[in-house]
């Protein structure tokens, strides 16, 4: 295999730069000890608006987003553009919810969303369900970031698995040492590179390909020639899918543990609100990146083969390789790889915190000290990353993609307990557990029975559930996660009514109404949970 030397060297230099930053981050705003859950896992809960904005942006817009969103547009046309309304809706939708979550977590020293659910509804079982949902949804997400790195390495010409392993061992080492501070500091470099790359790409590539008019006429002709022959627009049948996908995904994103970890690492309610308000700036960038998918179509980019099948995830790196000068293609590849490091680090920390707080401390060692919890979290974050590597090395990439599809649907099932719980304590713990189980079961079943004729898969074929399964032969489909969460909410309500009528004992609420409005200056430096240890 031919290795592109210039690209490789530039990638290595930039990778070494952020590695240095990752290790140095341990000294950034140095606390007396890094070895506590709050310091290692939440960077001391002290980030201000600038850091919060960079960090959340770097955390939420993953390398997989950068390669998969344009690949989706390349493959499916207009439907693939749903990422644009999705990322525009998500912040206005959740900002008010998140400041309440921030306040109650700050008051009680909660580190994970499951900690909060435990306190609010007095049910370790429900908390376990929420924690497991988070871990299961996060694992394939990390694996998919590895797919982003892998696709880039493939275009550079590096075969074999060792470069991927090296990159992840380095990531594991600086995350071990610096905790959440490492991805937060690296996010500055990542985001700066992303903005630079996309401005250059949009100014440079479309003109080389023949201009936007030409690009869209090629796109239109291409999708008119492929079924369902509608050109680059939505069809009568997939508009509802498009809208529910955008809305459901927007509601889901801040239920992911890595997103909540990012929010909890900030300093005050105003910081949460301000940084979240400015986050859609990243969505502008995402929109431009998505358009590169149709640019690649017009540039007649051929995806590279992996395992004999065309890997559309390679189209963006291949577009960069084919159009940029070598040195800038190197910058672009480094950006994608560094882009994978930030979310992978935060995700592994968030998953590790869930395990430590809601499984280890809850079921294995009730009296674990804060110091011991931090140790367990560090080791778990290593295990999570090793697991993600094994996913990629031992299983078909399709397996991770299917799991990620399931992950998006199941993470939404935490919505009634986490988001609704911030506004009302009306749901009974039994109702929430039953609703969660119903949403999980129906969501997974719906995904299982969905085929994909294009790739000849008979199961896990996509996230649009055809209403014809329910006897509604309109040709319409809805986002599976959306249907599942509606079922979840209905079951939660029905079982709550039944449990209240039968006077089934409910859990005790450890939170007070005012806890949802606490701000930075209301609580002591060391939150309650940490003080217990």
């Amino acid at each position: 295999m031919h290795v592109h030397a210039t690209e490789l060297w530039i990638t290595i230099v930039l990778f070494l730069l952020v590695t240095g930053m990752g290790f140095a981050a341990a000294r950034w705003r140095r606390p007396p000890t890094l070895h506590t859950m709050d310091e290692w896992g939440l960077a001391g809960r002290k980030f201000g608006s600038w850091i919060g904005w960079f960090m959340l942006g770097g955390d939420l817009y993953t390398a997989y987003t950068f390669v998969a969103v344009p690949a989706l547009l390349f493959g499916t046309g207009a439907l693939g553009f749903y990422a644009i309304p999705y990322t525009a809706i998500e912040y206005p939708l959740v900002v008010l919810i998140l400041i309440r979550l921030w306040s109650v977590c700050r008051t009680h020293g909660y580190v994970t969303p499951a900690d909060y659910v435990r306190g609010r509804f007095g049910s370790p079982t429900l908390a376990l369900a929420i924690a497991l949902t988070g871990v299961v949804a996060t694992m394939p997400y990390i694996a998919l970031n590895l797919i982003g790195i892998q696709a880039t390495l493939q275009v550079i010409g590096l075969g074999g698995d060792w470069p991927l392993i090296v990159a992840f061992v380095v990531l594991a080492a600086f995350t071990w040492r610096s905790g959440l501070r490492a991805p937060a500091l690296i996010a500055f470099v990542k985001d700066a590179l992303v903005y630079l790359l996309i401005i250059v790409a949009i100014a440079y590539i479309p003109a080389k390909v023949g201009g936007w008019g030409h690009i869209f006429s090629v796109t239109n002709a291409h999708f008119k020639a492929t079924p369902p022959h509608t050109g680059a627009l939505l069809t009568g049948n997939n508009q509802l899918t498009y809208a529910t996908l955008a809305f459901g995904s927007a509601a889901a994103i801040f239920l992911y543990p890595h997103a909540i970890t990012g929010v909890l690492s900030t300093r005050s309610r105003d910081v949460v609100r301000r940084s979240v308000a400015w986050l859609p700036v990243y969505s502008i960038v995402l929109g431009l990146i998505a358009l590169l998918g149709v640019v690649a179509l017009a540039a007649k980019v051929k995806p590279l083969l992996s395992g004999g099948k065309a890997n559309t995830n390679t189209i963006i790196p291949a577009l960069f390789e084919g159009t940029f000068p070598h040195w800038f293609a190197g910058v672009a590849f480094a950006t994608i790889i560094i882009g994978a490091l930030v979310p992978s680090a935060v995700m592994s920390i968030a998953a590790a915190n869930l395990f430590t707080r809601n499984i280890y401390k809850e079921y294995l060692r009730r009296d674990a000290s804060d110091h011991e919890q931090a140790t367990v979290s560090k080791f778990t974050s290593l295990a999570v990353k090793a697991g993600a590597i094994l996913f990629i090395l031992l299983l078909q990439p399709q397996f991770s993609i299917n799991l990620q599809l399931i992950g998006g649907v199941i993470i939404l099932q935490a919505l009634p307990a986490v988001f609704v719980g911030l506004y009302t304590r009306w749901p009974h713990r039994a109702g929430l557990i039953a609703g969660w189980a119903a949403g999980m079961a129906t969501g997974i079943w719906m995904l299982y029975v969905t085929p994909n004729p294009a790739t000849k898969q008979s199961h896990w074929g996509g996230s649009a559930f055809a209403l014809s399964h329910l006897g509604l032969h309109t040709g319409q489909g809805l986002y599976t996660g959306f249907i599942a969460v509606v079922i979840n909410l209905v079951v939660t309500a029905v079982v709550t009514l039944a449990a209240k009528a039968l006077k089934v004992p409910d859990g005790i609420d450890a939170t007070a109404a005012t806890d949802y409005f606490t701000d930075a200056d209301d609580v002591a430096e060391v939150p309650a949970e940490a003080a217990v240890a």
Partner: protein, 91 residues
Amino acid sequence: MSPDFPTRPVPSTRPTASGAPGSRTDRSPWNWLLLIPIAAPLLTFIYNRETPMLFGFPFFFWFQMLFAPIAVLAGVSAFYLSRRSRSKRGW
């Protein structure tokens, strides 16, 4: 199943520099601004068309690119305006 998390009892009201938490709220009429960037992107029938084109972009693509700047505008205005009216009320 243990009934409760071992948390320290948290005082429900504490006088602070920014006022008693009990009097706090996250309600503000300005928050209604957030509804615009939530609702507009869901109305596919508005933008699922090819014309009018802009710089070679079909309407479907260029119009949706406006959603993100609108979300910034709405989110940032809602934040600053609600904070300003909050400080007028004394905190």
